[in-house]
Symmetry: C2
Subunit: 315 residues, 2 copies
């Protein structure tokens, strides 16, 4: 478990020289459109193009020599595979990424470009987990879960440390996209224990991948869920450790439809002039859809990543 | 004429509180790909999404009260129309933009969103100029040319002032996209008189809009030229004042093909995670096409703008 915010500060200090302290960006035009004052934390400009660099880096830098020497393994169809490959390359250790056969070409290329070794499996969760276990049994690799892991959670929480030093005063609301829950569990833990970044922490999910929303409001971990969303980074089902932290530290969840997500993504691209993947557009989609709820407030939005296939845009 | 670099420093001081001091960005992956160390000056993140905000702002802030009271007028199918509308709105004066009937919807919307009044004309240079003259004769508007104007040139040159304070040491080469020549005349004048930003100043043009390249090497102003390029910001023909400054201060010109420009644009989008319009990709296209010429050097690239129709991408 995470004992206190000091663990998140420690994670930040550990990874600080390897990652970017990403900028806060904003747009008067977007503020006018939404009727509130929005601060975007641009972690799409993070190493490997996503916040996942933080958690993967902290996880690897937290390993002892024996674990490092064995090399690391994970399963991922997305940014965590690239992030772990990148962090492993810096420490000169080997990294295996088990990916579904139907993973996107862009994600496969990313893992390869950072020196990760890919092992393909059938595109089901059970096939992934079996393949990982098989390889661990044979080669003793150290497993780094994409989100259900305290060192990964603490690493993602480092965004909150940066926000604390970047903000002049706490935000009224902070919106965080939710997939497996690594990002929101790290940030919300920090925010609630420390109180320095935002009064209200809100999880933002696609309406058609609302397992975390349902888990949160029913207080029962929904694990049997089939997501259907263009926000590919948010298709994962909430992790066990993540659910526990979220229940204690998140204030609410709000969802957005697919068309709202696409509209928000286009607004970010055309107004902020930065590339975000669909997952990163979910918080703005929530604001655009409920402007009266955010009226005149200072609202934070985490832009979680910017990796996508430019040949296959959702419009 | 521009008498000395002090005019460019003055322009920078005049506009400084209205514009962004845009960041330098870079990518290890792009450096690896090109075999050199590239610094991108991200003026696509400038107000109105293009460097044109600088020149328009300096031109308007340099007007006397009589000229201001009359309001301003320009002709533009691109970013200068939006930039002048934006600067006029800040000074609470009226701004007329004469645009061809076939101007893109995105550019029309941009002018409107900054409060500019659009007057449409037939899509020829002579129709534009006639319509502008007609309106000046009737209403006495103050004309601000998109590039063939010393206050505009000095304003665009303010990028060089920022580069000077952002760079630890001068660059080996600096690549600047060339349309009408406002940007490169301002920057090259500063670079040659002052010497603080780069040893070699290179104009980058599409192969199919190479009127400035031809003018430079023949030392004869090519004015009868039909450009055909996706880099819509570079379709203008070199201005008279611009040609004069370029002949004295630019070291060379290099061109890139349309497919090289599109490839470079995709690399910038996917690696730097920022939106640039095709014009901004021309310098990187030049580097990708002549890597041996830039090998191991420190190279600067001006990202001139990020305004384009996301529904109509060139791939």
């Amino acid at each position: 478990m995470i004992s206190g915010v000091s663990e998140i500060y420690d994670a930040h200090a550990r990874i600080n020289s390897y990652i970017h302290n990403t900028p806060l960006i904003h747009s008067k035009e977007i503020n006018k459109l939404c009727g509130c004052d929005i601060v975007f934390k641009a972690d799409n400009l993070q190493k490997i193009g996503a916040f996942k660099a933080r958690g993967a880096c902290n996880a690897i830098l937290s390993l002892d020599k024996t674990a490092l020497d064995r090399g690391v393994i994970t399963h991922s169809s997305g940014n965590h595979g690239a992030a772990l490959s990148w962090a492993a390359q810096m420490k000169k250790i080997s990294c295996i990424v088990v990916m579904p056969e139907n993973a996107s070409k862009v994600k496969i290329e990313a893992v390869k470009s950072y020196g990760g070794k890919i092992v393909f499996c059938e595109p089901t969760i059970s096939a992934r987990e079996m393949k990982v276990q098989e390889l661990i049994d044979e080669y003793k690799y150290t497993f780094i879960h994409p989100f259900d892991d305290y060192s990964v959670i603490a690493g993602q929480g480092s965004i909150a440390c940066e926000l604390e030093s970047q903000l002049q005063e706490p935000l009224d609301k902070l919106l965080i996209p939710v997939g497996g829950g690594g990002l929101i569990s790290g940030i919300s833990f920090f925010a609630k224990k420390n109180g320095g970044i935002a009064s209200t922490i809100i999880g933002a999910e696609p309406e058609t991948a609302r397992d975390a929303t349902d888990s949160f409001y029913s207080k029962t971990h929904v694990t049997d869920y089939k997501p259907m969303t263009i926000a590919d980074g948010l298709r994962a089902t909430l992790g066990v450790k993540n659910f526990e932290i979220i229940l204690k530290n998140v204030d609410e969840f709000i969802t957005a439809t697919e068309s709202e997500i696409i509209e928000a993504m286009k607004i970010i691209w055309s107004r902020l002039k930065v590339i975000v993947e669909p997952s990163s557009a979910v918080p703005l989609a929530v604001i655009l859809n409920k402007p009266e709820y955010f009226k005149n407030e200072r609202v934070g939005v985490i832009l979680s990543g910017g990796n996508l296939d430019l040949e296959d845009l959702p419009w």
